[in-house]
C-alpha cells in the first residue's frame, strides 16, 4: 500500500497532435518507468490506427514512482484521455478518476475547441489545472501567445503557465515537480465500503475484460466477490494490479489508488465505463455519480461490397465490439446493398475508425451509407418511435410529429474565418450564440444546431473553409420538433434505399438537385437510358438522365489479338464485380461513398 498523501492522480487534456503522448513518454522516462529498451515511441497509444492518426482512442493508465526534490517517493498515476470530440463521455470518466489535469497546448497552434471543452469539463469536475505550453522547441512556436489564450480560458496569470518541450525534455522536471506540488492527494478511506470507478476497459484475448479502476473509497482486494452496480453483474476479482506500464499484480488497491481489475468476464458490455465496482458482501450505499449508458449519436449502414463477405463482416464487428462497448450493431437489409448491419456510433470519427479497422484489419471491402441520426417520430394516436435509418422513416404525406436531436457546438477559429464559419452554421439551421475573443488570434463561437446537419460533411467543410484552423466540440442539446421530409433517389424509376435521406423541407430541393447531379456523374452509361430522380413521396423534385451507352466494342479482333483482347475483357469484367445491381442498373460500389462526400 501507499500513503495517500504521496499519491497524485492526474491526466493530460490536449488536442489531437499537441503532444500528449510524447509528453507522457517523457514523464515515464523521467520516472524510470520504462527502460529505454522497452521504449517504443508513444507508449500510451497502443493501436496501430491510433499511432498512425496520432490520436488516442482508448484511455489507459500508468503508474510512475517519482522521487521529488522534497526527498519523498511519490506515486504519480497518469491517466490518459481520448482527445476527440466523439469520446467526451470517456473523457469525463477519466477526469473523474483524477485530482489534477495538465492542460496541454501546442505553442504553434494555440488553444483548440476540444482543449476548451475538456478544460471546462476538468474545471467542473473540480480538478486542479496546470496549464502547459508544449513544443517550445519549434521555430514557429509562439508560447507567449498560447499562454495568453490559456490564461484567458482559465482566468489565471500567463506567468503561471509552464513551457515545455516534450520532444527535447526541456521543462519536464519542473512540470513533474509542479504536479507533486499542486495536485491534491486523493481523499477517501480504505475502511469504507468499496466504490471504484471504471474509467476504461479493454478486451484481452487470454484474460478477458480488463478494466481500469480508480478506487474512490474502501479497498479492492484480489479474490473478493465484486458487484458491478449498473449492470448488476457479480464476479470474483481474479486479479488486481497496477501498471508500470507492464501489469504487476498486487494484493489490493486502496482508496486513492489507480490500477486494473480482471474478473474473467468475456463480454465487455457487462463491464461498462463509468460503472461503479463495489463489494458484493458489503456494497456501497449508492453508485458513484456520472454514469450514463453508452448512447450512439450517429448511425450508418455497413454492407460488404461482395455479398459473400457478410459472415466475415459479422465476425469482424463482433470482435470489434469486444473492445468497444459504445459500438452498437443490428442487422439490416437493403434492397440495393443486400445484407449488412446498421452501426450506431458515438460520432463521426468513431464511425470512421470502425470502418477503417474493418477494411484494414479484416480486409473487408465495404459500402457505408450516409450517416444519419436517430429521429423521434410520433404518428397520431401512437407512441413515439425512434427511427435510425431513413428507410424506416414514414412516407411523406402522413400526419406526424418529427423530432430531431440537437447539439450545442463550440467552435474555435481565427477571427479571419469567423464569417465563413457563421455562414456554414446558418446555412445549416444553426442558431448562433455568444462570441468570445480569446486574444486577437482566436474567437470562441457557440452555436445550437441539429446534429443531422453536422453528421453530413459538416466537419470537412468547416476545415476546408477555414484552411484547417477551426476546431469543433459538441454536446447533446436534447430533441426539438422539426419540419423534416424523406427525400428518395430513384434510378430507372425504383427508389434506392441506400440513398434516401431525411432532410429539412427547406433544404430538400437543394439536396435532391445535388444528389441527382452527383449520381449522374457517378453512374456509368448502361444499355438503356437511366433516369435519376429525387422525389418526396410521389412528387419528383429533380431529374437527370444517364444516356444509354452507344459503343462498347473492340475495333479489331484477329488471330494475333485473341489472347490479349481476352485479357483486356477479363480485366474489365473484374471491374464489373465491384458493381452493385440496383434493379436493372449497375451502380459502382464507389458511387455509394462518393455520392455522399464533400464538395465545394
Amino acid at each position: 500500500m501507499v500513503f495517500r498523501s504521496l499519491i497524485r492522480n492526474f491526466c493530460i487534456v490536449a488536442h489531437i497532435d499537441h503532444g500528449k503522448s510524447t509528453l507522457a513518454d517523457r514523464l515515464l522516462e523521467s520516472a524510470g518507468a520504462v527502460s529505454q529498451r522497452d521504449m517504443r515511441e508513444q507508449v500510451l497509444d497502443t493501436m496501430d490506427l491510433e499511432r498512425e492518426r496520432g490520436i488516442t482512442i482508448k484511455a489507459q493508465a500508468v503508474r510512475l514512482d517519482y522521487r521529488a526534490s522534497d526527498g519523498h517517493q511519490y506515486v504519480l498515476n497518469l491517466i490518459d484521455t481520448p482527445g476527440h470530440v466523439d469520446f467526451s463521455y470517456e473523457v469525463s470518466r477519466s477526469l473523474a478518476a483524477c485530482e489534477g489535469a495538465l492542460l496541454l497546448v501546442d505553442a504553434n497552434q494555440g488553444v483548440q475547441a476540444q482543449t476548451v471543452a475538456n478544460a471546462y469539463l476538468a474545471v467542473e469536475a473540480g480538478l486542479e489545472i496546470i496549464p502547459v505550453v508544449n513544443k517550445i522547441d519549434l521555430p514557429s512556436a509562439e508560447p507567449e501567445r498560447a499562454a495568453e489564450e490559456l490564461s484567458r480560458i482559465l482566468g489565471g496569470d500567463p506567468a503561471d503557465v509552464l513551457f515545455v518541450s516534450a520532444k527535447t525534455g526541456d521543462g519536464v522536471t519542473e512540470l513533474t515537480e509542479r504536479i507533486v506540488e499542486m495536485v491534491p492527494p486523493p481523499a477517501g478511506h480504505f475502511d469504507r465500503p468499496l466504490s471504484a470507478l471504471i474509467f476504461d476497459s479493454y478486451y484481452d484475448l487470454y484474460r478477458g475484460v480488463v478494466c481500469y479502476v480508480r478506487v474512490m473509497e474502501g479497498t479492492l482486494a484480489a479474490g473478493e466477490r465484486v458487484l458491478f452496480m449498473a449492470t448488476g453483474e457479480k464476479r470474483d476479482a481474479a486479479e488486481v494490479g497496477v501498471l508500470t506500464p507492464a501489469s504487476v499484480p498486487v494484493e489490493a488497491l486502496e482508496a486513492g489508488e489507480v490500477g486494473y481489475l480482471i474478473t474473467g468476464a468475456k463480454e465487455i458490455d457487462r463491464v461498462r465505463v463509468g460503472d461503479t465496482v463495489t463489494s458484493a458482501h458489503r456494497p456501497a450505499g449508492r453508485p458513484l455519480q456520472g454514469y450514463t449508458d453508452p448512447r450512439p449519436m450517429v448511425f450508418a449502414g455497413i454492407f460488404p461490397t461482395d455479398g459473400d463477405d457478410h459472415p466475415r463482416l459479422r465476425e469482424a464487428l463482433e470482435k470489434l465490439q469486444l473492445n468497444d462497448a459504445s459500438l452498437q450493431i443490428s442487422p439490416e437489409f437493403s434492397q440495393a446493398l443486400g445484407f449488412g448491419f446498421r452501426g450506431g456510433f458515438l460520432g463521426l470519427l468513431h464511425m470512421e475508425i470502425v470502418r477503417e479497422r474493418l477494411e484494414r484489419e479484416y480486409d473487408l471491402d465495404l459500402v457505408t451509407t450516409a450517416p444519419s441520426v436517430a429521429y423521434r417520430v410520433t404518428l397520431p394516436g401512437a407512441k413515439p418511435i425512434e427511427v435510425r435509418s431513413p428507410a424506416d422513416f414514414p412516407a411523406a404525406g402522413r400526419e406526424m410529429v418529427v423530432e430531431e436531436p440537437w447539439i450545442k457546438a463550440l467552435i474555435l477559429v481565427p477571427p479571419l474565418f469567423l464569417g465563413a464559419v457563421m455562414e456554414i452554421l446558418t446555412s445549416r439551421r444553426g442558431e448562433l450564440g455568444p462570441i468570445n475573443y480569446l486574444g486577437v488570434e482566436r474567437v470562441e463561437l457557440t452555436c445550437r444546431i441539429p446534429l443531422a446537419e453536422v453528421v453530413f460533411d459538416f466537419y470537412d467543410r468547416l476545415k476546408s473553409k477555414t484552411r484547417g484552423f477551426a476546431s469543433l466540440d459538441y454536446e447533446s442539446d436534447g430533441y426539438r420538433s422539426s419540419d423534416l421530409v424523406k427525400v428518395d433517389l430513384l434510378l430507372n424509376g425504383s427508389p434506392v434505399d441506400a440513398f434516401s435521406a431525411v432532410v429539412h423541407r427547406q433544404r430538400s430541393y437543394e439536396y435532391g438537385r445535388e444528389m441527382v447531379t452527383r449520381l449522374r456523374k457517378l453512374i456509368p452509361r448502361q444499355l438503356f437510358d437511366v433516369p435519376i430522380q429525387a422525389a418526396i413521396g410521389s412528387r419528383v423534385i429533380s431529374r437527370e438522365t444517364v444516356r444509354a451507352k452507344r459503343k462498347d466494342v473492340l475495333a479489331k479482333c484477329y488471330g494475333g489479338d485473341v489472347t490479349r483482347k481476352k485479357k483486356l475483357l477479363a480485366r474489365q469484367k473484374e471491374g464489373k464485380k465491384r458493381m452493385k445491381m440496383v434493379g436493372s442498373v449497375e451502380v459502382p460500389a464507389e458511387a455509394f461513398v462518393a455520392a455522399l462526400q464533400v464538395r465545394d
Partner: protein, 403 residues
C-alpha cells in the same frame, strides 16, 4: 472455286461462317515501314529496310522448319507494310508456302499495301506471282485526317492504287478506313465514305480509332490531347453501316463489309476458330490445341532463327472451357452469330443475358446466338467471360431438364 451455276453465299452466311472454322491458313508478318504511324502498336520497324534480305531468308527458314500441314484456304501477308518488301521476296515466300503446305483451289492470297507505294508495276508483278487480293490502307480521304494519322499518301493515291490493282487483275480489293479521329468531322467522314465506295471496293473495313497503350497517340492523349469520342464513333459506324448496305456491301462482322463472294477468308477462318500458322516476328499461331507467338523484337527474332532456334514463345493450351469461351467471343463478332453450345445457353439464361436480351443486344434465331447491336459486342463478351464452368454446367442441366 465458285462457278456461275452455284449460288454465291452471302458474306454473312451461317454455313460459310461455320465451315470457315475448319479452314487452315497462314499469316506472314512483314514489319518494315517507312515510319511508324502514331496509333500503331503492331510489331513494326522503321528504317530497317536493310534487313529485308536477312528477314526474307529467316522467313523461308521458319516456313521450311514447320511440320507438315495444309493445304491452305488463305494466306495473308500483313505488317508493317508488306508492299515495302521487294516483290521478288514476296513471290519467293509465297512459293515456299505453296510447296510446303499446298494451296486449296481458289485459295485467297492477300497482302496489305500502302497506296503510295502500290504502283501499277508492283501490282502486276505480285498478281503474276499469285496474289489475288490486296488490302489498301486508305484510312481516310480527308487530308487533315491523313496527316493526323501520320499517313503520307493523298486521296488521289488511293484512287490510283485501286485502279492499279484492278488493272493487274486482283480478284478482291479491300479498303481500310479509320473512323472517329480527332480532326474528323461528320462531313469529312461522309465524304470519306462516299469516295471510298465510289472506288467500288469488293470489301470495306471501317475501324474505330483505338488508343493503344504505348503508342504516340496514347502519350498525347495522356498529355491532354483529345481522345476519340465513342459516341461520335458510334455515329460514324452507323453511317458506314447504312452506306455499305446501299452499295451492296454486306457487313458480316463488326468492322467488315464485303460484296457477295468477297468476304476475307483469312478473317472468316480466325473468327470461326480455324487454325493458322504465323511466320515472322510477333506473329501468332494456333495449331491443334496450342497457341503461341513469335519473338516480337525484329533483331532478336532474326538472331533466334539464325541460330536455328524456333522463334515460338508463350505456348498456351487452348482447350475445354477456354476454347469454348473463345469460340463464342470470336463468333459473336460475326453477323452470322454462333452456335450457342452450353456456354451460349448459360449466357442466355444468366441475369446478364436477360438484360442483354431486354436491351435488344442479343437475339436467338435459327438456333444461333447473334449480337443484334454490334456496337455493344463487348458487353456480351464480358458477360460470357463472367460465366464460370460450373454455371455453364448448371444451365446445361437446366436445359436438359426442361426439354
Amino acid at each position: 472455286m465458285t462457278s456461275p451455276s452455284q449460288t454465291i453465299p452471302s458474306p454473312d452466311d451461317a454455313d460459310l461462317a461455320d465451315r470457315a472454322g475448319g479452314w487452315r491458313s497462314v499469316y506472314v508478318h512483314l514489319p518494315f515501314c517507312e515510319q511508324v504511324c502514331p496509333y500503331c502498336d503492331f510489331a513494326v520497324a522503321a528504317g530497317q529496310d536493310h534487313l529485308a534480305d536477312r528477314y526474307g531468308r529467316a522467313l523461308i527458314t521458319e516456313i521450311e522448319s514447320a511440320t507438315a500441314w495444309g493445304p491452305l484456304q488463305a494466306v495473308n501477308f500483313g505488317g508493317g507494310t508488306p508492299s515495302r518488301m521487294p516483290a521478288v521476296w514476296l513471290g519467293r515466300i509465297l512459293g515456299c508456302l505453296t510447296s510446303r503446305f499446298g494451296l486449296r483451289p481458289g485459295a485467297e492470297v492477300s497482302l496489305e499495301a500502302n497506296p503510295e507505294d502500290w504502283t501499277a508495276e508492283k501490282a502486276a508483278q505480285l498478281a503474276e506471282t499469285g496474289f489475288n487480293r490486296v488490302s489498301l490502307g486508305a484510312q481516310s480521304f480527308d487530308p487533315g485526317v491523313l496527316s493526323y494519322l501520320g499517313r503520307r499518301h493523298s486521296a488521289d493515291d488511293i484512287v490510283r492504287s485501286v485502279t492499279a490493282a484492278r488493272q493487274a487483275g486482283f480478284r478482291s480489293v479491300n479498303l481500310d478506313l479509320i473512323m472517329g479521329s480527332a480532326p474528323e468531322t461528320a462531313a469529312s467522314w461522309s465524304t470519306t465514305l462516299a469516295r471510298a465506295l465510289s472506288c467500288q471496293p469488293d470489301h470495306l473495313s471501317t475501324y474505330a480509332l483505338t488508343v493503344e497503350p504505348g503508342t504516340v497517340l496514347w502519350q498525347e492523349v495522356r498529355a491532354g490531347a483529345a481522345a476519340p469520342d465513342p459516341d461520335r464513333q458510334a455515329a460514324c459506324w452507323e453511317e458506314a453501316d447504312r452506306a455499305c448496305a446501299e452499295a451492296g456491301l454486306v457487313r458480316y462482322e463488326v468492322s467488315n463489309a464485303a460484296q457477295p463472294g468477297h468476304p476475307c477468308r483469312y478473317n472468316l477462318s480466325v473468327w470461326g476458330q480455324g487454325r493458322y500458322l504465323g511466320f515472322g516476328n510477333g506473329a501468332h499461331s494456333f495449331r491443334g490445341n496450342r497457341r503461341w507467338e513469335n519473338i516480337r523484337d525484329l533483331r532478336r527474332y532474326l538472331e533466334a532463327v539464325g541460330r536455328g532456334e524456333s522463334p515460338g514463345r508463350r505456348f498456351q493450351e487452348i482447350s475445354g472451357w477456354a476454347a469454348e469461351s473463345e469460340r463464342l467471343l470470336l463468333g459473336i463478332r460475326r453477323r452470322a452469330g454462333v452456335r450457342p453450345g452450353r456456354l451460349g445457353r448459360a449466357l442466355w439464361r444468366s441475369s446478364a443475358g436477360r438484360r442483354l436480351r431486354q436491351a435488344g443486344v442479343i437475339g436467338w434465331r435459327d438456333g444461333r446466338l447473334r449480337v443484334d447491336r454490334p456496337l455493344l459486342t463487348d458487353e456480351v463478351s464480358r458477360a460470357i467471360l463472367a460465366i464460370s464452368y460450373d454455371h455453364g454446367a448448371e444451365a446445361d442441366a437446366g436445359t436438359k431438364a426442361e426439354t
